[in-house]
């Protein structure tokens, strides 16, 4: 049975996401030792030269979404089921840095779909706590682990339908944030496909480095970051890095 990692990477004028992906790919190779498929567009593909360790899929991506006032092209994730060539797939955000083999362990279970329902701010200022009026249990679509079953196909089909009718579903679930967000779309889909009840999740929390923290060094084992006058480090644990400036370090 094949296992592999699927990533989505589309450069914007502001952020060279392919450089973020390069850092992530190196860590996947080091800690997971799995094949990698990168879904990208023709423009971004030109940035990669002679990368035989990556299988590329080129698509015409949608470009009509923003995040924090900047273009944010991450609208293709609902097609991961169709894009993935693997029987078991780990979908990763390109800014999710693997410093452990945790995902490798989790990809060998009987579960056909796993996702995190918790994330925490590693600087412990509760920077990821968002006020909201919805009682929809949130998930973080930063990492998905799935197998190609009929049930999982239905989950992805439902995410596509939610994406097409996003305003309606936001109204239905009392979500004020009207820009498309994969986290909400997967949360709604999982809520519905599981009969509005509980479902199995990855039982730990995503360590997340907030946007206002600067990475000052990183290697294959971890990273050091600064927030104001505080310097700290994360070693041996996967980290979701929101500040893409780390590629310049």
């Amino acid at each position: 049975m094949t296992r592999g990692v699927l990533m989505y990477c589309f450069d914007t004028e502001q952020v060279p996401y392919h450089r973020v992906a390069n850092a992530s790919v190196a860590l996947v190779k080091q800690h997971l030792e799995l094949p990698i498929t990168m879904v990208t567009n023709a423009h971004t593909l030109q940035r990669w030269v002679d990368r035989p360790e990556i299988d590329f899929i080129t698509v015409d991506n949608e470009c009509n979404n923003t995040k924090l006032g900047l273009p944010w092209h991450n609208l293709e994730r609902c097609q991961a089921f169709d894009h993935s060539p693997y029987a078991t797939t780990i979908v990763l955000d390109v800014d999710y840095l693997c410093f452990s083999d945790k995902l490798l362990r989790l990809s060998g279970t009987a579960h056909d779909f796993l996702i995190h329902d918790r994330a925490h701010d590693v600087s412990y200022r509760q920077a990821l706590t968002y006020e909201r009026k919805s009682m929809l249990p949130l998930v973080w679509a930063t990492v998905l682990i799935f197998r190609k079953t009929d049930r999982v196909r239905r989950i992805f089909d439902l995410v596509k339908m939610i994406k097409q009718n996003y305003n309606h579903y936001c109204n239905l679930y009392r979500i004020d944030y009207k820009n498309f967000r994969n986290d909400y779309a997967f949360a709604m889909a999982l809520n519905q496909i599981n009969g509005f009840g509980a479902y199995d999740v990855i039982p730990d929390s995503i360590a997340t480095l907030p946007q206002d923290c600067d990475v000052i060094s990183h290697d294959g084992d971890g990273l050091c970051y600064r927030h104001l006058n505080s310097i700290n480090s994360i070693q041996g644990q996967d980290v979701h890095v929101l500040n893409k400036g780390f590629v310049n370090v």
Binding site: T109, A110, H120, S123, A207, S230
Partner: protein, 105 residues
């Protein structure tokens, strides 16, 4: 006391507290383990429950991390896997914690 000295001491304590929380978070993540296709947490409760049940039965049932039932047919192997995972996580935490404690002010 010099207020600047107090502030510096307080900042250092905060940084240490953040570092300790991150080390604990890492240990928590490392304790997530997979046994017979199911996800378990190699935490004290799981280990203690399995050890207690092994004294009374040759095989038994446990709940995994998502409350799904799992038959444990080889308790010794199961407990050994949990203990190995938990101790590896705590050993890493212990080493890092020692370094943290000896950080000079």
């Amino acid at each position: 006391m010099d207020i600047n000295e107090l502030k510096r001491h307080s900042d250092l304590s905060f940084d240490r507290a953040v570092a300790k929380k991150n080390l604990l978070s890492r240990a928590d993540s490392e304790m997530v383990t997979v046994y017979n296709d199911h996800i378990f947490r190699a935490d004290p409760l799981t280990i203690a429950t399995a050890t207690m049940l092994m004294e009374h039965r040759d095989s038994f049932f446990m709940l995994d991390a998502n409350s799904n039932p799992v038959e444990i047919k080889d308790p010794k192997q199961f407990i050994a896997a949990l203990v190995e995972r938990q101790q590896a996580a705590l050993n890493t935490y212990h080493q890092a914690y020692q370094s943290l404690r000896t950080l000079k002010e």
